[in-house]
Assembly symmetry: C2
Homo-oligomer: 128 residues x 2
DNA sequence: TAATGTCACTTGCAATAAGCAAGTGATTCT
DNA sequence: AGAATCACTTGCTTATTGCAAGTGACATTA
């Protein structure tokens, strides 16, 4: 996990955000987590067809960056379920705005469920 | 410019948005355009130090995707200034949410000018 | 006038990352 | 015992990035 601001190409908050999540896959995983998916196979089965090695490395990076946490959901062999942290859940407004934008400009893309725009980051945090 | 929905890896609006602008540089250019920059050299001089070949190819892609337009600002040799289209200006809420998120979670990143959060997409369209 | 400079790129190439297919290990199911 | 499942990892090919240098059209300076 990057800790020092000096590690970033600039201190601009937009640029830093892009260094952390500015790629074609990270937010797809965050979307799936928002939709309640939590297991490796769940992410793999999304329609975008993320390659398995990329999925593994993105989950690792998201965890390193404090966006995701994992917890064992079974033993022998130990397997982990992934969840959004508060930091990760707070990406929801970003996702929502991206969806609003695409809905406005890209014909024939899917309309997400009404609930997607009503959910708040709080709602996404697993109750412990 | 991608026209058919079938060209995308899925019809999910989030995924499509990421295919269009999900990389480390495109939104940095959009940010610069929001700040009133318009010439090639302006983008080059931003603190992130975008490589010149990437800048040229991103400007081309952004234009192909209808996010920016270019207009000649001089002859001999003809040189172009770049501007946000309405589609591009409507990315502002996305940028704003990304900035809110980074400000909340990344210590020591810069605070954008107050005006950044007050501007609307309309304000970004050049008056003709 | 010749040389130097500026601006907006393009080109070549090495390094990095993405994507595909196959393999692995632990365990359960047949 | 053999086949299947799940969550990965490994190997390898292809695509993208990033760095450095080059190019072309003109303006400026010596």
């Amino acid at each position: 996990m990057k800790k020092k601001t000096e590690d970033y190409r600039s201190k601009c908050p937009l640029s830093i955000a892009l260094e952390l999540i500015g790629d074609k896959w990270s937010l797809v995983i965050v979307r799936d987590l928002c939709m309640g998916k939590s297991k490796y196979g769940d992410f793999q089965s999304s329609p975008e067809g993320i390659p398995t090695n990329i999925l593994a490395s993105r989950l690792r990076e998201l965890e390193e960056n404090g966006i995701v946490t994992k917890e064992p959901y079974q033993d022998k062999p130990t397997r982990y379920a992934y969840f959004l942290t508060e930091k990760g859940a707070d990406l929801l407004p970003v996702l929502q705005q991206l969806v609003v934008w695409t809905q406005k400009y890209v014909l024939d893309c899917l309309t997400p469920p009404e609930s997607f725009f009503q959910v708040t980051p709080q709602d996404l945090l697993r109750k412990r």
